[in-house]
């Protein structure tokens, strides 16, 4: 079907806009001048509109993912009566360029996937987009070579300046109704349509910047150059200011904070734009920073645009608006420039793989930001840092988790933190987590008492597919707090109803110090079960400490495995521990002869939202909270950031 195209005189167009403004049913925003630049802002009159602008400082994403947005309001006195503050105002955005319309469509893919973001969704539903074809091209824009200079969809109405009139392409019924209600239009005639085509073509000549390769070739080009010197060369002069991501229409990562009123009675959980160029973006509670090097963060941004999101969603997450090129003081952010330079030098072969396709079950649909109320039943300290928390969901519904999954524990005023679940799956609302005091949330948790309330979101992420372990020998290696999710798995397979499904079970467990050995009761029990070999070690032991077990790193336990009796092809190895442990343990497993595809690992990153939205837990192209935290080693191995 051909699109419906109308025309309106410029004078009538102003009357149309003024009529909508006067009606007050909508918040009418449009492009306005700000000094020599342009911004989207509220209009008080059609005269303020600048439809011949080149580019706005910030894209219209701010109307869907605002710079600062309240997710929940909470009361400090009444724990866990947090309510979603869903926006309800209707808005019309006038003057959105095609590349920004396309960027919004891309953002939809991320925010309106299986785990929809209600805030974003509501804003999208309540907003009409009146696009405008580009008339003046920003000097840094390369939209034409990205084929994002025009669009056939994603708008309710699209304007094209055809001289004394605007051509209006009707994109949706909503747009059509708006016209009918407020505007005087005529059907476009053949001459109008010719003018429209001419107008669009005329703009093409105005682009000074062009990407020399087709956008479908970005991904192989980047992949071939993952280790190119260009990343370091350019990152050397990077200010790490993340201006590039702030002004980007396709960047959508965010941070979440709890603000509390000065009298400590109430507060807001708010989200704000975050940027992967900032060092603290990946920082976890214990202080560890992943992608610590500027070079890695600089590369990440381009890979996200050219490889990670294309692999995930099928589009290059750059629309050629050129905003980052303008915003970057050392001028290293412009993808056009970088891709052209890579294409110029590159002759390397496509080698790497930086993305894993992994289906995951979505257990909790719909509300993704609001925690469920739960009660702390019991707190058992292991040592001065670690305690075991027994928590019950107040709705008494079973948690319904798999071993290896995690929950986000929320304390209003303090925030949220991810915790591995340490109890096996079961038909119960009660579960256990281990809390190590490292950050604000964990420290606060440890000051709470049985009976106190916390919030729970989850279970989240991909757990272990225990069914696929049946009939196999199982070798579990855990270091430090890695025992938390491991315990869930071990107790699940050792459950008397399950035990016969698996062959021999070997448990290797290492901690830094004897006092950091957790779940000693479980360990003693496991040792007594037939066909279970359980070995413990500590890195070091002070003379004052009581320890009759092995001393040395976790790898010293491997010689205790009777390698000759191990049917390695039919052995599943699971490794969970601190980042530094994986490399060494996996080497031991390989020496034993266990194939990579039989090895499973569980990784920890900054899993802030837990629903693959906020971007903090990314390892190359994957979200640990969505594709993980449990991974098959063979699949994960090619990702350089997994075991950095």
């Amino acid at each position: 079907m051909k699109p419906l195209i109308k025309t309106i005189t410029k004078k009538d167009f102003s009357t149309f806009i003024d009529a909508i403004i006067k009606d007050r049913s909508y918040d009418v925003v449009g492009v306005r001048a700000k000094g020599a630049r342009y911004v989207f802002d509220t209009l008080s009159s059609a005269n303020e509109l600048c439809l011949d602008y080149d580019v706005t400082i910030v894209p219209p994403k701010k109307y869907f993912l605002p710079q600062h947005e309240t997710l929940l309001k909470f009361s400090m006195q009444k724990p866990f009566e947090g309510k979603e503050t869903i926006p309800d105002e209707s808005r019309i955005i006038i003057g959105v360029h095609p590349y920004d319309i396309i960027a919004l469509d891309q953002t939809d893919r991320h925010y309106l996937d299986q785990q929809q973001d209600n805030y974003y969704k509501k804003r999208r539903e309540n907003t009409l987009i009146v696009g405008v074809d580009i008339k003046n091209v920003s000097e840094r824009s390369f939209a034409a070579s990205m084929k994002t200079n025009t669009t056939d969809s994603g708008f309710d109405l699209l304007l094209t300046d055809i001289g004394t009139n605007y051509a209006i392409t009707i994109g949706t019924e909503k747009g059509n109704k708006l016209l009918k209600k407020y505007a005087t239009v005529k059907d476009a005639n053949a001459s109008d349509l010719t003018k429209l085509k001419t107008a669009r073509n005329a703009v093409l000549k105005k682009y000074k910047q062009k990407v020399k390769i087709d956008k479908k070739d970005w991904s192989p080009l980047l992949v071939a150059n993952y280790n190119h010197a260009i990343w370091e060369e350019r990152a050397d002069v990077c200010m790490e200011c993340s201006s590039c991501t702030m002004v980007c229409p396709t960047c959508f990562c965010y941070d979440v904070k709890d603000d509390v009123s000065l009298n400590l009675t109430q507060g807001n959980r708010t989200r704000t734009w975050d940027g992967c160029m900032l060092k603290d973006f990946t920082k976890v509670g214990s202080g560890e920073v992943f992608r610590d090097d500027v070079k890695e963060r600089y590369r990440h941004r381009f890979f996200r645009k050219g490889n990670y999101l294309p692999e995930r969603y099928g589009f290059v997450a750059c629309v050629g608006c050129g905003r980052c090129g303008i915003a970057c003081l050392p001028d290293i952010a412009d993808p056009c420039n970088l891709i052209n330079e890579l294409a110029h030098f590159s002759s390397e072969k496509d080698t790497g793989r930086y993305f894993i396709k992994e289906e995951n079950e979505v257990l909790e649909k719909g509300i993704i930001h609001v925690p469920r109320s739960a009660t702390i039943k019991k707190i058992t300290p292991f040592n001065e840092l670690d305690s075991l928390f027994e928590i019950e969901l107040d709705d008494k519904k079973p948690l319904g988790h798999k071993p290896g999954q995690f929950v986000e524990v929320s304390i209003f005023g303090y925030g949220e933190a991810p915790f591995g679940i340490s109890t096996p799956p079961g038909n119960t609302p009660v579960f256990e987590i281990m809390v190590r005091q490292v950050g604000n949330v964990t420290k606060k948790l440890c000051s709470l008492k049985p009976g106190d309330k916390v919030g729970i979101r989850g279970p989240l992420g991909n757990g272990f597919d225990v069914k696929s372990f049946e009939g196999k020998t199982l070798l579990f290696t855990s270091g430090g707090t890695g025992m938390v999710p491991m315990r869930s798995l071990i107790n699940y397979v050792l459950d008397s109803k399950q035990r016969d499904k698996f062959k021999e079970i070997i448990i290797l467990y290492g901690a830094k110090r004897p006092k950091e050995i957790t779940f000693l009761g479980d360990v003693d029990r496991w040792k007594k079960i037939r066909d279970v070999q359980c070995e413990l070690t500590v890195d070091r032991c002070e003379p004052s400490e009581c320890w009759d077990g092995c001393t040395g790193l976790i790898t010293t336990l491997f010689p205790k495995i009777q390698a000759d009796k191990l049917d390695t092809k039919n052995t599943i190895a699971v490794v969970i521990g601190p980042p530094v442990m994986y490399k060494f343990v996996i080497k031991c497993l390989q020496t034993l002869g266990i194939p990579n595809e039989n090895i499973y690992v569980s990784l920890e990153r900054r899993m802030k939202c837990g629903v693959a939205k906020c971007g903090h837990c990314q390892i190359n192209g994957i979200y640990v909270c969505k594709e993980g935290p449990v991974f098959n080693y063979e699949k994960l191995k090619p990702l350089p950031e997994a075991f950095e």
């Binding site: 710079q67 002069v237 990077c238 200010m239 400590l264 303090y414 606060k444």
Partner: protein, 254 residues
């Protein structure tokens, strides 16, 4: 109910602007006194007590007598909060550290005989943490009221305050400002700690770095930007003198 912590506010060499920011909380002051007893605050009340848990201190240390007074406050307070650039890093008071104290005195007071007058017995300006340990920092000249509130609520809730470690550009971009460099100004925003909501560039004035530098002026990227905008190292050194004289990058704990 738990006893409210007792709070005292003190000033050293400063303009009292940061204290004024607290006084300017207006009705929210009532919220503040709901969670804390203010026992000393020269700018807004007559009463004074030497019994306090939390000391909020504005200003820099200039003289031996200041040092003695600061040590005494520290010995009374369980928690010490540095308020504003003068206290957190010396701020504008450090401009004079470019010269020797005697020369400065001579320049200002001429031949007046100040011998033996301890009020004029100045040494080189020090930030609070050059004399005593500081527990919390509220940055800026003046401080940002919202950040002050967030530091106070963080202390009250027993959590670590969330002070940005990224540059002002982040907040400036969120505010949709035209870059000061684009307007021909020389802005310290790219190397200055955020948290001020980019108030200066938002009101069309380049950043002066009052919240401390998060990157060295000697960094490669700064050099690149200086080159690009035809500025010299001398320009940035001069520019940083206003608030950051003699200072390096701020540490993670500040």
């Amino acid at each position: 109910m738990k006893q409210k912590p007792r709070v005292a506010v003190f000033d050293f060499a400063d303009c009292e602007g940061c204290e004024l920011e607290i006084a300017d909380l207006e009705e929210e002051i009532l919220d503040l006194i709901e969670i804390a007893d203010i026992v000393s605050f020269r700018e807004v009340m007559k009463e004074h007590s030497d019994s306090y848990d939390i000391a909020i201190i504005e200003g820099s240390v200039m003289r031996p007598m200041d040092e003695r007074r600061l040590r005494s406050i520290r010995s009374h307070a369980k928690i010490l909060i540095a308020l504003g650039a003068c206290a957190t890093m010396g701020g504008v008071n450090k401009i004079r550290n470019q010269w020797m104290p005697d020369d400065v005195k001579k320049e200002v007071y001429g031949d007046a005989d100040l011998k033996g007058n301890e009020l004029f017995d100045v040494f080189q300006t020090k930030a609070l943490n050059e004399v005593v340990p500081v527990d919390y920092y509220v940055h800026g000249c003046p401080i940002d009221r919202d950040e002050f509130k967030s530091v106070i609520t963080a202390i009250a809730l027993g959590k670590k305050p969330d002070i940005p470690r990224y540059p002002v550009c982040v907040e400036c971009k969120k505010n949709e400002n035209i870059c000061q460099f684009e307007l021909g100004a020389f802005c310290l925003g790219p190397i200055t700690r955020a948290g001020c909501k980019a108030i200066c560039p938002t009101h069309n004035s380049a950043c002066e770095g009052c919240r401390g530098l998060i990157k060295k002026a000697e960094a490669e990227c700064v050099k690149e930007v200086l080159d690009r905008y035809k500025l010299s190292y001398e320009d940035i050194r001069r520019r940083c003198t206003m608030y950051n004289y003699g200072r390096k990058e701020c540490s993670y704990d500040e």
